[in-house]
């Protein structure tokens, strides 16, 4: 049955769906973010939750103060090297299925502080990021756009078959190694299973 036929039936009041679609529809419309902010970007995240932008329209208004109850981590702000192990620990404590949004230049790459001695060059060095929202800071609309993109991503997830969603695959690592505080830097400075720095192809 094609989408057009289904649309046609829907207009006549007959709803045809699959369990997978229903399940993903429910999941994508009740994403509960973890309530924490790391720097200035968090202010925009807070603004997105207030009446004017109203993230509740997308079912993500319940900011949970505990990682056990959250399924979205919005890394909103500068991740310092001192904070990075704690962010990874929070991520490990979140139950699957879980998603991560890197909000702002700092969370993506270190942003304006990239060459600094104390700032992590992007949270994707340690945890897998689903959506990157560029900006310094991204406006609340950008966060809402990122959230709807994440919803699209969730809706496209398959529950069975060869392209099963990440959280349903048995080999999926639910936990990621927490870096140690070393004498000069975090040890290791990134998770090689997850991240490799962009390389510069040089031809003679």
């Amino acid at each position: 049955m094609s989408d057009a036929e289904r649309e046609d039936l829907r207009r006549h009041g007959i709803l045809l769906t699959s369990l997978e679609e229903l399940y993903n529809w429910g999941r994508s419309n009740s994403i509960w973010p973890l309530q924490f902010g790391l720097a200035c970007c968090a202010i925009e995240m807070i603004a997105a939750a207030t009446a004017r932008f109203d993230i509740a329209r997308f079912g993500a208004e319940i900011f949970r103060p505990s990682p056990r109850q959250a399924d979205l981590m919005i890394v909103s702000g500068t991740v310092t090297k001192k904070m990075a192990p704690l962010v990874v620990r929070l991520w490990n404590q979140m139950p699957e299925p879980k998603y991560c949004i890197a909000m702002g230049a700092c969370a993506i790459s270190g942003g304006p502080f990239k060459q600094g001695y104390n700032v992590l060059k992007g949270i994707d060095r340690f945890i897998p990021v689903d959506i990157y929202i560029p900006g310094c800071p991204p406006r609340p609309e950008a966060l809402l756009h990122g959230l709807t993109q994440l919803q699209e991503k969730i809706k496209a997830e398959r529950l069975a078959g060869p392209d099963t969603a990440r959280h349903l695959r048995p080999e999926n690592p639910g936990e990621f190694p927490i870096p140690d505080y070393g004498a000069h830097d975090l040890q290791p400075p990134n998770n090689p299973a997850l991240f490799s720095p962009p390389s510069l192809p040089r031809k003679p």
């Binding site: 310092t80 505080y181 004498a183 720095p197 040089r202």
Partner: protein, 240 residues
């Protein structure tokens, strides 16, 4: 309010054993300061806080400075008498002298009680930058110096004696370096990205050397293009 010279003279008469120097910083908005000795700094600070004429009861800012060793070349004009009996020649003589480096803590003080508008600035200097880096803490005098002295300890490595809780503030406890010192070398965690900065391109050459490039710093005995052990993710693209 009295001028800094008057204040210095008053301090010198009050504390005859102490050494108080005036450090001039002339310019459009001059900010002169008083250089104190470590031995008498605490007493003088207490005096400045409680003295009814200055009453510096508010320490708004404490900051650190790093002065590395500096080579100073002085030129002096010396007149050399001519052995033949002619007029003496004037010769420029250059002397080099190494000014040893030191670390410095700078305190900006105001008086809330007297509503002062310009700060009185105190400076304290350590003996050197390596092993004699202790200064007396002024936190017992002005409590607002607490976190700022901790930050200076963290970033510059000045040890404040008498501080109630001297721990690192921004970096973690096991961290060994002092990142705001001039000779700090950040861990080599280079990430190439397209950028107009020449420095980045220079570093990129060292990290992603041209295959067969002798100038690019390929470790000896290692073929360019192989995975280097120091940076296992660096994989310069092989020539097709």
């Amino acid at each position: 309010m009295e001028s800094l010279e008057q204040l210095r003279d008053r301090l010198l008469t009050r504390f005859p054993a102490a050494k108080v120097e005036l450090v001039l910083n002339p310019g459009a908005s001059p900010e002169h300061s008083l250089l104190l000795e470590a031995a008498s700094a605490r007493e003088i600070a207490l005096f400045l806080r409680d003295d009814p004429f200055v009453k510096l009861d508010y320490c708004s800012n404490v900051t650190g400075l790093d002065w590395p060793d500096k080579e100073i070349i002085e030129t002096k004009k010396v007149s050399v008498p001519d052995p033949a009996g002619g007029p003496a020649k004037v010769v420029e003589e250059k002397t080099k002298r190494l000014q040893p480096g030191y670390l410095e803590a700078v305190y900006h003080l105001y008086s809330m009680a007297l509503k002062s508008t310009a700060p009185v600035i105190l400076r304290l200097r350590t003996v050197n930058r390596s092993d004699q880096v202790t200064l007396p803490s002024l936190t017992p005098v002005w409590r607002s110096a607490d976190f700022q002295e901790r930050e200076i300890y963290d970033l510059y490595g000045i040890i404040f004696e008498g501080h109630p809780d001297l721990r690192r503030l921004l970096m973690w406890d096991g961290f060994k370096d002092h990142p705001m010192r001039k000779d700090y070398v950040a861990p080599d965690d280079f990430e190439w990205e397209p950028t107009p900065h020449g420095v980045v391109h220079e570093r990129a050459k060292a990290h992603y050397p041209l295959p067969g490039d002798r100038l690019g710093q390929t470790p000896a005995g290692q073929q360019p293009g192989t995975v280097s052990p120091a940076n296992p993710t660096t994989q310069p693209e092989a020539k097709p």
